[in-house]
Symmetry: none
Subunit: 133 residues, 4 copies
Amino acid sequence: MFIELDLQSDTPIYAQLIDQLIGGIASGELKPGDPLPSVRSLAEDLGINLHTVNKSYNLLKQEGYLQVHRKKGVIVQPDGMPGITDDFLEKLRHQMRSLAAAAAIRGMSEEEFAQESRAVYRTAIKNRGGEQQ
Amino acid sequence: MFIELDLQSDTPIYAQLIDQLIGGIASGELKPGDPLPSVRSLAEDLGINLHTVNKSYNLLKQEGYLQVHRKKGVIVQPDGMPGITDDFLEKLRHQMRSLAAAAAIRGMSEEEFAQESRAVYRTAIKNRGGEQQ
Amino acid sequence: MFIELDLQSDTPIYAQLIDQLIGGIASGELKPGDPLPSVRSLAEDLGINLHTVNKSYNLLKQEGYLQVHRKKGVIVQPDGMPGITDDFLEKLRHQMRSLAAAAAIRGMSEEEFAQESRAVYRTAIKNRGGEQQ
Amino acid sequence: MFIELDLQSDTPIYAQLIDQLIGGIASGELKPGDPLPSVRSLAEDLGINLHTVNKSYNLLKQEGYLQVHRKKGVIVQPDGMPGITDDFLEKLRHQMRSLAAAAAIRGMSEEEFAQESRAVYRTAIKNRGGEQQ
DNA sequence: GTGGTCTAGACCACC
DNA sequence: GTGGTCTAGACCACA
C-alpha cells in the first residue's frame, strides 16, 4: 500500500499516517487480518522516526482499528471493526458541522454539499470487494 | 451571539473561536456588515487572551470572512463572501475524505453518510433569513 | 505529594508513576481540580525523562482521571471521575482472581482474603476528607 | 484442564499460562501430585513456543508450586504448597492497593470492594473438593 | 526480529 | 513556560 506524507504540512506526521492507514482500510487495500509493516521497517520506508510510526499504530490500536498480535505483529483488526458509537457520531457531526458552515457561507447549497459527501465517500471505498492483498 | 469554548479540548482556542464565528455567519446570527465585539471586550467576555482573539480575527480576515476598519472596528464581510475556490474545494474534500473513510470502516453506508451531511448542513444554517439575536 | 519510584523494578516507570498518582487521588492528597506539576518539573524532580512523565499523564488523561487544561496545565479531573464501568469491573475481577487463586493455594481463607482487601482499601483512602492540599 | 490464552493481550503469554495453571490448582482441577503435560505437548496443544511453556514451568517451580522429576515429568507440588510468606503478603498487598485505589476513585465503597474480593475468591476455588475433569 | 520502554535533546504552537 | 511533536539512539522482554 502506498503511503504519502507531507513533512511540511502543519498536521502532525503521525496524524497523516493515521489518515492514510484508515483510508487504506476503508478502500479495501488493507483487509481485516492483514499484517502491517513492522514499526521499524515502515519508519525506514517513510524516512521518519520509529516512534512516530509507533504513536500512529498505538492510537489506531486504542480506537480498535488494529491489533498487536504476539506472533503476527501488528495486524488489521480481524474481529470486527468498532461500530458507529455515540462518541464517533458526535465527533463526525462536530467536524462535519465546521465543513458545512464554511461551505454554506461560500454559497454551496445543501444539495451540492450532500453530493460532495457522496462523491467523496465513493472514492474512499473505491477498491472494496476487489482482489488485492 | 453565544460563543462556547472548551478549554480542555485539544483544538486550540483560536481555532474554536474561528469555528464558532463561521458557524454564526452560516446560521445567520451574524449578517454581512454586522459589527463584531472589539478584540479587547471579546477577550474579556470569554476570559481568554487578547492575542488569541486577535489571531482568530486576523485569520478570518485573511480568508475574506471579516473586514477590519479603523473606525467601525471589525465587521462581517459586507461585500460578498469568498466563493467556492479550488483551494477551498480541495481542503473540503480532503477533510471529508478522512471522515468518510472512518465512517465507512465503522459500517456507515453512503446513503447514511450523505444523510448525515444533509442533516448537519441544515442545522448549520438553521436561522438563515431569520432575525439574529 | 511524595512520589516514590523504583528504577530497578521490572514494572515500567510510567506504570509506577500512574500507580502513585492514582494512589494520591484515592487518598485525597490530590483533589479534583488540583494542579499537577508540569511534565518538565516533575521529570526533573524524579530524575526521569519528561517523556516518561508525559506517557503517564496521557494514559491517565485517557482514562479520565486527569484533564489537560489550556490555562491551568494538567489538573485532577474536576468534572467527576469515571464511574464503575463494565470494562473496569472486568479488569478488576481479572486481576483480583489471580491474587485470590495464589492466596487460596497458600492457604489463605476467604475470610482472611476479604479482611486483607478491607484493610488495604482503608489504607488506600487514608486521608480522605482531611484538610491537606 | 482447559487453558485459554489471549495472543492479543498485553500480558505475556508465559504469564497468562502461569495464571491459568495457578487458577487450575486453586480451583482443584489440578491436585497435588497430578501430572502436567510435557513441555513439548503443551506447547503444541496451545500453539506456542517451547521456550514459553518452559519459562512458565520454571517460574512455577521456583515459587514452589510445581516439582520437576526426571522420570515423572512435571507434577503439581505434592509435599505441601508454600505458605503465606512475608514476601507473598507484601506482593499481595501492593497489587491489591493499586486495585483498591482505582476502585475507590471510581466510587466503589469498602463494603463493595470486600464483597467483590469475596465473590472472586469463591469463583477461584469453585471446584475445590470436587473431582477434577 | 518484534514491540515496549527509556533517555537526551530539539523545535514549535499556544497562551 | 506549557504541552505537543519529532528525532536519534539504546536496552530489554518476548517469542
